[in-house]
């Protein structure tokens, strides 16, 4: 019953929110990666295009400057400037660009050409001699690329710097730049589109096994808990293994639950049939009738106890499923339990003792306090029921280890008759009851279930000269891994 609720819970959670899509995530990631890549490449492409367009056309400017400088000579009449037609011809090769030029001396006086060309302060720096200066400047309503180069004229009196400044609008450069960018971007964009398409196809191909697994699970009958048959890809192998493990446990526990229900039904039926029999007999007159009434009362009491324990058992198992673990102070728990037992104790002749580990050890475990308390309560009840009226019952908490991990052992010792060695494995099974005044046969099964749900253990041992020691050992923190179903 409890498992059915767990399953219903998971499917309810699944349908509440629309699940994310792995395909969409992969697509988004690959497209984002492509976008970043294209952005980076475009930036690089732009820089490259600009510098190569500049380089190409700067060579023309430089050549024109050389052609003009070459035709400047010193004559007896002064500086002779014979502007070669080739200089402007070079710059006018089928282009839309406007050109500007001037020849200047070291003081910035324009000897010929357009006097108002922008200098961008190159006269303040060292004047170029062999290596030209290039700069962009706004002139005549457009951005103009300028070159300045110069040479030293050797005249009679002293050497004299003479320079030429040539400007060309950027139309051809910008066209070349745009062309280079376009020629780079088109294949890049095609590549990206192809990449995204291939990524999409690849993702679909990679996801196909998952769809197969999904179909396998979806198309199953509700009671078909066979392991998944498909050979899973490595990436989801552990997921499939986990699903298969889960299904195996589900299968086992469903079997247990079925047998539990069958057992419970049988016990209840037997118990109620006995009660009915006693009540039938109660009609008889005389002593036989009153004996039957006493037996009926006794039977009713046992049935109530059986019912309580079955409910307790079911609760313990239910709580183990729900993982209600918390830090539990065993000392506090044992003290309260003891107070309760002493208060309820009808016998009154029993001597109870509690032994705790010496300080500073504070016995704490991570566990379900209610389940632990229930287990201890059952152990004490057993000790009371099976022991003599002057029983001595000791609850002892000791620090120990379990499978290499720190743990606490809680022992309940009595002076009763103990359990025969052959019976010890059987008593932890459900509905196995031994000896006279035997209980429902559920109590030790509850203890065993609690020990198992805490990854602990439950031991029964004999005491000398007589008596039984029932010890439940709980790890301080349960080791990781799935909580096994009892």
């Amino acid at each position: 019953m409890s498992r059915a609720r767990v399953l219903a819970g998971t499917s309810a959670v699944g349908s509440e929110r629309r699940p994310y899509s792995l395909r969409r995530r992969l697509m988004a990631a690959s497209m984002a990666a492509f976008a970043v890549l294209i952005a980076l490449l475009s930036a690089g492409l732009w820089t490259y295009a600009r510098s190569s367009a500049n380089q190409t056309y700067d060579l023309l400017l430089r050549g024109a400057a050389i052609a003009i400088l070459e035709r400047i000579a010193v004559t007896p009449e002064g500086i002779d400037i014979d502007l070669p037609p080739s200089a402007l011809e070079i710059l006018a090769l089928d282009q839309e660009d406007r050109v500007f030029y001037r020849v200047v001396d070291a003081r910035g006086t324009t000897l010929t050409g357009t006097p108002d060309l922008p200098t961008e302060g190159f006269f303040e720096r060292s004047l170029p001699l062999q290596e030209p200066i290039f700069f962009d400047s706004l002139y005549s309503g457009e951005t103009v690329r300028f070159v300045v180069n110069g040479r030293t004229l050797l005249s009679a009196d002293r050497p004299q710097w003479i320079g030429v400044q040539i400007g060309q609008t950027r139309i051809a450069r910008n066209a070349m730049e745009a062309d280079l960018i376009l020629k780079g971007l088109v294949p890049l964009a095609a590549l990206s589109i192809a990449g995204v398409a291939m990524a999409r196809a690849g993702i679909g191909f990679a996801m196909r096994p998952l769809a197969g697994i999904e179909r396998d699970i979806r198309e199953r009958q509700p009671n078909d808990l066979e392991p998944l048959g498909t050979a899973p890809p490595r990436e989801v192998e552990s997921l499939i293994t986990a699903i298969n493990g889960f299904m195996r446990r589900l299968d086992v526990s469903r079997g247990q639950a079925e047998s539990f229900i069958a057992d419970v039904a049988h016990q209840m039926r037997t118990s109620l049939a006995a009660l009915y029999g006693h009540l039938e007999a109660a009609d008889r007159p005389g002593e036989a009738g009153s004996r039957a009434v006493a037996r009926a009362r006794d039977q009713a009491r046992r049935t109530v106890r059986l019912t309580n324990q079955l409910l307790s058992h079911a609760m313990v198992i239910h709580r183990a499923d729900k993982e209600m673990f918390q830090t539990t102070d065993l000392g506090e728990l044992v003290r309260r339990l003891m107070e309760e037992i002493v208060r309820d104790d009808a016998a009154g002749g029993i001597d109870f003792a509690v032994e705790m580990p010496p300080p500073p050890i504070a016995p704490r475990v991570t566990g379900d306090p209610i389940a632990i308390r229930e287990a201890l309560r059952n152990l004490v009840d057993n000790a009371v029921r099976h022991g003599p009226p002057d029983n001595q019952i000791t609850l002892r908490v000791t620090a120990t280890t379990l499978a290499g991990r720190p743990a606490y052992a809680i022992g309940v010792e009595d002076c009763g008759p103990g359990i025969a060695p052959a019976d010890k494995p059987k008593v932890v099974e459900r509905f196995y009851s031994s000896g006279p005044g035997g209980g429902s046969g559920v109590g030790l099964a509850i203890v065993a279930a609690v020990a198992e749900s805490h990854k602990g253990r439950f031991d029964l041992s004999d005491r000398q000269p007589n008596g039984l020691s029932a010890t439940i050992t709980l790890p301080e923190t349960p080791p990781p891994g799935p909580v096994s179903m009892p």
Partner: protein, 364 residues
């Protein structure tokens, strides 16, 4: 020459019509009455050559009137640069000066202009609309008994060999006075190694220099000149067809071809109408008008027909060398370059110094 400003007849009639009729039709002033857009065209082209074209444009665009102002080429440039109120359209045969105006950023692009040869347009701002070869005009009677020169080299050789025949009877442009004359001379200098020799031979022959093609053609017709070198072929051809005394020849080594060009100024306040004028000039209708009713040669028709267009009109077979509407023309506008060229040209055209001249007769 001073600037003569004239409002085109159609514009004047329209204005008269508006003044006379509108008040009769409606009482009072109507500010929203349809008005004709007036565009200013400043041009260095003979008015007679342009009149039919302007009339054709106004007929095709009734909403636009043209105010046509004529200049010579050098004046035109100065006027455009100096004007506070720029004209809408500038038309000139001086390609170098037009390129300079565009290079200064004074022109504005015109869209959807019909396709023309690549050399005849620049930046979609400057458009050539004619194609006119530079030719040689000669007096038929003077050359009736002697062969015509076929190349520049031959011409220089003839002048050198027969100084008495050519003495004072050769004409060419005064390059200091005429913008186109300067452009022809500089293009000759740039293209042909014969150019200095030819100018020198003109100097020896005491060549006369002129401001204009028409004056030269007139003197050739009257026999004062035997030939005139570097005349505008279109203007000359018109005279030659009417006058049997004249012959016109393209020298076979090369013939320069120049184009009259038009631009719309950046400051024009009606670029759409100005653009319409440019598109009209290069439209089939405009080009047909240029061909039929003006002395100019259309660009598109002559471009389509190729060499044969000129071979049917001129004597001699030649290779045509179009002058390209490109910034390389600016080279010759450089002050230093121009001063130097004019100085050299003047020195050559004046003829050799005296002691040289005394030596010259001994040779012959």
């Amino acid at each position: 020459m001073t600037a003569r400003s004239r409002i085109v007849v159609f514009g004047a009639i329209a204005a008269l019509f508006a003044v006379a009729v509108v008040p009769v039709l409606v009482f009072g002033h109507r500010p929203d009455a349809p008005q004709r857009t007036v565009i200013d065209v400043w041009s260095a082209t003979d008015r007679s050559a342009m009149a039919e074209i302007l009339a054709g444009f106004e007929a095709a665009h009734p909403g636009i009137a043209i105010r046509y102002t004529e200049y010579n080429t050098s004046e035109l440039r100065e006027a455009v640069l100096a004007a506070r109120q720029k004209p809408d359209v500038v038309v000139s045969s001086a390609m170098d000066l037009q390129v300079e105006l565009v290079n200064r950023g004074l022109a504005s692009p015109v869209a959807d202009v019909p396709e023309t040869p690549e050399w005849s347009r620049w930046r979609e701002e400057l458009f050539g609309f004619t194609q006119e070869p530079v030719a040689l005009v000669y007096n038929r009677e003077a050359f009736s008994k002697r062969p015509l020169p076929s190349t520049r080299s031959e011409l220089a050789g003839m002048i050198r060999d027969e100084p008495s025949f050519f003495d004072g009877r050769v004409g060419t442009y005064d390059v200091a006075l005429s913008g186109v004359g300067y452009m022809f001379a500089t293009q000759d200098a740039q293209r042909g190694f014969q150019a200095p020799r030819l100018v020198e031979s003109f100097g020896r022959a005491k060549a006369k220099t002129y401001c204009c093609t028409n004056d030269m053609v007139e003197d050739v017709a009257s026999g004062r000149l035997v030939l005139a070198y570097n005349v505008i072929g279109s203007y000359a051809l018109e005279r030659v067809r009417r006058d049997p005394r004249l012959g016109i020849l393209l020298l076979s080594d090369y013939a320069l071809v120049f184009t009259r060009s038009v631009l719309v100024t950046k400051d024009s306040d009606d670029k759409a109408a100005a653009g319409d004028f440019v598109r009209f000039l290069l439209s089939d209708a405009g080009q047909a008008l240029i061909d039929e009713s003006s002395s100019l040669f259309p660009l598109v028709a002559s471009f389509r027909e190729g060499q044969s267009f000129f071979e049917t009109r001129f004597e001699g077979s030649t290779s045509l060398l179009p002058i390209r509407l490109r910034p390389s023309l600016l080279t010759w506008l450089d002050e230093r370059k121009k001063a130097k060229f004019l100085h050299d040209w003047k020195a050559s055209i004046k003829g050799p110094p005296k002691d040289d001249r005394e030596a010259a007769p001994k040779k012959t």
